[in-house]
Amino acid sequence: MNGASRVSAGNGANLDRDRLTMALGTMWRIRAFEELAVRAQKEGLALGAIHPSIGQEAVAAGVCLNLRRDDLLLSTHRGHGHTLAKGADALAMMRELFGRAGGTCGGKGGSMHIADFDVGMLGANGVVAANITIAAGAAHSMRLLGSDRITVCIFGDGAINRGPFLEGLNWAKVFDLPVLFVCEDNIYSATTRSTSMTAGPGVAARAESLGIPAVAVDGNDVVAVDAAARAAIDAVRSGAGPQLLHCKTYRITGHTTADAALYRDPAEVDKWRESDPIARLADTLVADGAAPAVLDEERARAYAELEDIFAAARDTAWPDVAGAFSDVQDLGDPRERAY
């Protein structure tokens, strides 16, 4: 029944060292971004809720390695990593977290609504599972327009119990659309262990019951994620219809920066820390003969870049208040009846 085939890790296979070094760089940039976002929140610079993806970087990096710049990506409330990996401008993103001018959304959206249409990133979403149907529609649109851009939709393990998961996957398969669904399974939905609220064997079985091929992969092994994503995306591109990738990973931080996550066994966290996706990739590359110094450079470059970005974002002005009234709609006066 639980028929998701497993792609084993890439260790031992022929490694494409350049490609993986790029992935390492991406992962370090995500890690640095998230750490600085957490710091920014402590300092009152990042506003609203921040959902860090520390520990989950291999999913973003591994999937997006296989996407074209003009492919489409939809994400979740925990979307910084995906957005960076898709190629969005990190300074604009940080400015958005700080609510500043020049943010990806002009400061109107914040962390949960980051989008960068220039790189095909169609948005985080504050509503769990909502992007699944929107992704189906984006793929539908590409079909109608005769475009070969594919759509990738990432969602969490908690999202698979909401109706749009069923409706969106069914839709994608009925219309045989070019979509890759990625379940980024970090074991928790907010403070709840997702398995306790999830009937049956899980996301892959659900996808298969809808006729959508599903593959489960170690989501902390970027080599494996890359390989599985490549296979699934090749299938999508070749017209085989929607595919699903189940990436098993772990949320190292609390649900938000405000969540101490006391409901978890510290031993569980420790165990997963040992499976840090960045360290694992570095080990793999070193074992393959890469020079540790080169890898350290990736790290150093990422933090240097992000520290600069942090400072630049902090020094950016607030957006003009007129922005509160723009981009609402063409018709009608948004100030109507205002105070």
Binding site: F117, L122, G137, N170
Partner: protein, 328 residues
């Protein structure tokens, strides 16, 4: 001018716009066989199943997919069958379609039209009779349209499809068979502009959708009693035509809002409150709203009729306003 039904006018609008713009497509349940009321009859044959798309019974996904499609370069026309079923897709419409452009800082637009047949239609009962236009007028980002005549269903639907905002387009089920004159050539009714359906000096009736016709009947009865009612059909509820309404009330000094929806927190409250705020000193009598009681719509006709605003009820209310004012 030739004659078309309200239903055929909507159908013609969609055909014309789909011919004009290859990015326009329609999606909804049973569209391939013409849709539940026949509004899409023959369109699948004309445009093919990709552009007249049959869908699963998945209102949330119909709406969500339309949002995704509208964001990415096509122009979906969503069919919700009964406006009541749109309640299965409210997150998609309100949290997503209406807000996306703003949240994302204007990176894109969401040019979609949601067709939601509304209103009482004999013995359709509580889950197939609602009129929730006031909800949508409350949501930043949405345009709300409620055509009442064949010509307007042609001209407004075409304008709605051309608009770059998400438009909630409320056709009234009881009006499908209504015949009326429709221009033969290209006909676009501008959004946001009311139609003065009848001129009059004594009181202003502001209304929309099927109540236009009840109001016109009432106006005839009132005329026989020497009261000349001006009937203003809003056509677009957001943005509504303040200028037309205010000009009329300045002239008549009396405002009666007539709506089919539940009166409490209905859109009539917005009109009445706006006029009371702005034109208090010009009013010869207090503003007044007519609408349904705060009850679900019942199945049995005599009970259902208790939820109806009828020409008689309009006539009576209008007369009371005029008579009363003279007595004051």
């Amino acid at each position: 001018m030739h004659k078309l039904t309200y239903l055929e006018a909507g159908r013609r609008a969609l055909i014309e716009e789909m011919r004009r713009d290859p990015r326009v497509w329609a999606l909804g349940e049973d569209l391939g066989r013409g849709g539940v009321f026949g509004q899409y009859k023959g369109l699948a044959e004309m445009f093919g199943p990709a552009r007249i798309a049959d869908t699963p019974i998945s209102e949330a996904c119909i709406m969500g997919a339309a949002v995704g499609a509208a964001m990415t370069g096509t122009r979906p026309v969503v069919e919700m069958r009964f406006s009541d079923f749109a309640l299965c897709a409210i997150d998609e419409l309100v949290n997503q379609a209406a807000k996306a452009r703003f949240m994302f800082g204007g990176q894109m637009r969401v040019p979609l039209v949601v067709r939601e047949p509304v209103g009482m239609w004999r013995s359709s009962a509580a889950q197939h009779s609602q009129s929730l236009e006031s909800w949508y007028t409350h949501i930043p980002g949405l345009v709300v349209v409620a055509p009442s005549t064949p010509a307007d269903n042609l001209g407004l639907l075409k304008s709605a499809i051309r608009a770059d905002d998400p438009v909630v387009y409320l056709e009234h089920k009881a009006l499908w068979p209504l015949e009326g004159p429709v221009p033969e050539g290209e006909h676009l009714t501008p959004l946001g502009v009311a139609d003065v359906a009848r001129e009059g000096r004594d009181l202003t009736i502001v209304t929309w959708s099927a109540m236009r016709h009840a109001s016109l009947k009432a106006a005839e009865a009132l005329a026989k009693q020497g009261i000349e009612a001006e009937v203003v059909d809003l056509r677009t509820l957001w943005p509504w035509d303040r200028d037309a309404v205010f000009a009329s009330v300045e002239k008549t000094g009396r405002l009666l809002v007539v709506q089919e929806a539940v009166s409490v927190s209905g859109f009539g409250a917005e009109i009445a409150a706006s006029v009371a705020e702005a034109l208090h000193h010009r009013l010869k009598s207090p503003v007044k709203r007519l609408g349904a009681p705060r009850i679900p719509v019942a199945y049995a006709p005599p009970l259902e009729d208790m939820a109806r605003v009828t020409p008689d009820r309009i006539t009576e209310a209008a007369r009371a306003m005029c008579v009363h004012a003279e007595a004051v």
